[in-house]
């Protein structure tokens, strides 16, 4: 079992739709959570960073963390064609010999069509 499991998609939605991207993790040492967006052949771009349970909003993006169920989500409102990319969830190990190691989910390919 992978330490971070992400719905692989691919996901195809019409412009303006609300998109929900989800990950689960298994290691309680994971204390920090991030969402990255990656366009083809480019480096990942940090979208959201959070370390506590609850919601964090930034523009059209909302990150949600539930540490009790080890579940993290990213919601995109009013999706645009420019949101078409691969979305990666990531967690940071806050303890032990793997301190600071970032573990990624497998990524979800999102296509927003006009």
């Amino acid at each position: 079992q992978k330490e971070v499991e992400q719905d692989p998609g691919p996901l195809s939605v019409p412009e303006g739709a609300i998109v929900s991207l989800n990950c689960t993790y298994s290691n309680s040492a994971f204390q920090y959570f991030m969402w990255y967006r990656q366009y083809s052949r480019k480096g990942p771009e940090l979208l959201m960073y959070t370390y506590s349970s609850g919601n964090k909003e930034d523009g059209r993006f909302t990150a949600q963390v539930d540490k009790s169920s080890k579940y993290i989500s990213l919601f995109i409102r009013d999706s645009q064609p420019s949101d078409s990319a691969t979305y990666l969830c990531a967690t940071v190990n806050a303890g032990g010999t793997s301190y600071g190691k970032l573990t990624f989910g497998q990524g979800t390919i999102l296509t927003v069509h006009p």
Binding site: Y32, M34, Y36, R41, K42, G43, P44, E45, L46, Y49, L88, V92, N93, A94, S98, Y99, G100, K101, L102, F104, G105, Q106, G107
Partner: protein, 112 residues
């Protein structure tokens, strides 16, 4: 400024060549990372430097040799690579190890 600069953007090398990848950041970050990413896969951690000292080595083959000359620079020296090493090599930095990472655009490496 959250920029991590990687050079070159593209590199083609033979299996007997020696080449280096370079990474630079001017954000005052004290942790720097090398990741390898194959197509349609997530990035995989190779090395972590914290305060210019190697902190994590993910059992990477010795044909990859990292170097951190100062707090702003990170190099990856390549020697006798195999075709299966062809991938996108990503550099990242963070204020401190374990904090949010900022990635460069990567070097697309092809080994012939």
């Amino acid at each position: 400024d959250t920029e991590v600069t990687q050079t070159p953007k593209h590199l083609v090398m033979g299996m007997t060549n020696k080449k280096s990848l370079k990474c630079e950041q001017h954000m005052g970050h004290r942790a720097m990372y090398w990741y390898k990413q194959k197509a349609k896969k997530p990035p995989e951690l190779m090395f972590v430097y914290s305060y210019e000292k190697l902190s994590i080595n993910e059992s990477v083959p010795s044909r990859f040799s990292p170097e951190c000359p100062n707090s702003s620079l990170l190099n990856l020296h390549l020697h006798a690579l195999q075709p299966e090493d062809s991938a996108l090599y990503l550099c990242a930095s963070s204020h401190l190890q374990g904090e949010k990472l900022f990635f460069g655009s990567g070097t697309q490496l092809s080994v012939l």
